[in-house]
């Protein structure tokens, strides 16, 4: 027991004196959060800039423009020159350009039942499909509504849209749990694998093997020290997200801390396995990278898992990072209580226990 406390204390001292590691392991997730959070997440939702080139200048065209300006989803401006507007579209300043050609007013007001519908040219940038498509949909809906009004059409069936989830979730809310999951994964796996294999290479572990110290005591102290450090780091990121970015924690903080601990245990155990497999510290880094890098993209850190291609789904579904990020997200975004997350918790515990079992078999002093 004495050895356990002394080793834990020693490891914490080493952490506190290795400021560089401490700084960068914390800085990276914070920068990622600030960068992605402010570039992608600002304003909430996608904003669409539309420019209307009014070459007709009749009452009919003005009426149509006024209608488009009413929709909140779009930022509508009036432009005089089509070429300038198209140029801005190409540069990405605009998502949609609507051209109202001369003679539009005449064509609409003099239209008879048998004439074909008037075609309104709408330009969009294909490189920004999601915004363009959203814009096109909004314009379509507006045009549709207006056509119906003009022809005094009364619909037989109408849809009534209602928001199902009352939560207002922005990308930053989605992102922060993912970043915390990523941080837990990379700090623990890379940290453990790198440090243990370096200590082995330098003979530090061998020297300890020459004493009465047991491997289990050594590993237990490592776990305790890392749990304290990584838990605090994750908590710090959560607090910064909470207070600076206003990312809310809708569920219980206690459950959140529990998940951070569970995730730390699972990934630390995987780190011990890598440390056992790696022949030297130089190979520990690439091996850890080989494992963490795919998980970063497949595990729902930056994009929802449901966006992954169908054939990858079975694989993605067993990754520990997927369950950690899902559980963190459910807790923070939705506020799902522990009873609603038993599957995630079970799978993560499975990973932690299984990995520790393998790690205890593969641990080597030299």
């Amino acid at each position: 027991m004495k050895a356990y406390w002394q080793l834990t204390l020693a490891q914490l001292l080493i952490f506190s004196r290795n400021r560089q590691v401490l700084f960068f392991t914390l800085l990276f997730p914070l920068i990622l959060m600030v960068a992605l959070g402010s570039f992608v997440g600002s304003g909430g939702g996608v904003s669409i800039s539309v420019s209307i080139v009014n070459q007709d200048d009749t009452n009919a065209s003005k009426e149509f423009i006024a209608l488009l300006q009413e929709t909140e989803a779009m930022d509508v401006t009036i432009s005089d020159d089509l070429t300038i507007a198209l140029d801005r579209l190409e540069k990405g300043d605009l998502q949609i350009v609507v051209d109202i050609p001369e003679g539009y007013g005449n064509a609409v007001s003099n239209r008879t039942e048998d004439d074909p519908a008037y075609s309104l040219p709408v330009y969009y940038n294909e490189t920004n499909l999601s915004a363009s498509e959203l814009g096109l949909t909004v314009i379509n809906a507006t045009v549709d509504e207006w056509s119906k009004e003009l022809t005094n059409y009364s619909p037989i069936v109408e849809i009534e849209s209602q928001g199902v989830r009352a939560l207002n979730i922005q990308y930053i809310d989605f992102l922060v749990p993912g970043i915390v999951a990523m941080m837990i994964m990379s700090n623990n796996m890379n940290g453990v694998a790198g440090q243990i294999s370096a200590w082995r290479e330098r003979g530090i572990l061998r020297r300890m093997q020459g004493t009465r110290l047991k491997a289990s005591t050594f590993i237990a102290a490592q776990i305790t020290a890392r749990l304290a450090l990584n838990g605090l780091q994750a908590l710090l990121v959560l607090l910064i997200a909470n207070f600076i970015f206003g990312v809310s924690v809708n569920g219980s903080w206690l459950l959140l801390i529990g998940l951070v601990i569970l995730g730390t245990l699972a990934f630390m155990a995987l780190g011990f396995i890598i440390a056992g497999v790696a022949k030297n510290p130089e190979s520990a880094g690439p091996i850890a990278g080989f494992v963490t890098f795919p998980m970063l993209f497949l595990g729902g850190v930056f994009f929802p898992i449901s966006n992954m291609p169908e054939f990858l789904q079975p694989f993605v579904q067993i990754l520990p990072i997927a369950h950690l990020s899902t559980a963190l997200r459910e807790t923070m975004n939705v506020g799902t209580p522990i009873t609603g997350q038993w599957l995630e918790i079970l799978i993560l515990s499975g990973w932690a226990i299984g990995a520790f079992f393998v790690a205890s078999r593969t641990f080597r002093w030299e």
């Binding site: 050895a3 002394q6 003979g203 530090i204 061998r206 300890m208 020459g210 009465r212």
Partner: protein, 312 residues
Amino acid sequence: MKGCDQMAENMIEVEGLVKRYGKETAVNNVKFSVSTGEVFGLLGPNGAGKTTTIEMLVGLRKPDEGTARLAGFDIRKEIGEVKEVIGVQLQSTSLFELLTVQEIMKMYASFYPSNVSIPELIDEVLLTEKKKDRVKNLSGGQKQRLAIALALIHDPKIVFLDEPTTGLDPQARRTLWGIIENLKARGKTIVLSTHYMDEAHVLCDRIGIMDQGELIALDTPAALVKNLQSDSAIEFSLLHNEDVSFLDSLQAVKQVSNQNDRYVLYTDSIQLSLTDLIQQASSKNINLQDLQMRTATLEDVFIHMTGRSLRE
């Protein structure tokens, strides 16, 4: 404790240790015993099997054959007890660089049921001024003294020192010798490996000479040198291509060794051999360069037994 019965007799009994790596035999049937309070030296060039022998004794490697008893405990069956009665300083040990001398000693102390006073031990290895310094900032000699202190932290009966002075400057080596002599004065049994002859000669009561995995000689330093049967050596250099066949037939010369045109003649009578050498060389018109005479050393013992130099 069963180990106590044998205190008066042999502290270490090594019985036919064998270690193989693939086809190579690193240690072949090594046997020796060390009595309580003795300083035992293992001498030999790099790769002779000294370190492997020590590593088997302290439980870091499993012997393929044979065993050893340390303070009565068998290294195969009672390694836990063995580790409690031994202290180890390994070759090129590295420690947690970011901890201070004091902190690392406290940590190592916690690995054992009991330990000696840490401030006293720090004082004994002359690190009192450095006790709050990080390991990273210690000199090579200071690190080595810390490594020895860590080996002593639980007051072991036997101390293993694997090449403690390798890579140190002469001053640091002398300091370390003083510490080892203090240990001996306190009755510790010490096993020391080295490839420095002078060190073995100064520190060790008895020396085992190892070469290519085998223990080829075992005696006191004085007896080993005496057994050369030629207590003096004449050294000189010759130019290339000289006819040297006459050297073997010089008066009183027992052995001739040659390395890179540097010749050593081992002789019982330096006067007879030297007169003969100079006369013959003059008549053959051979130029003896850098001629020196000295008494034979352990280095000569090694050359005599293996035909090779220690630091080849």
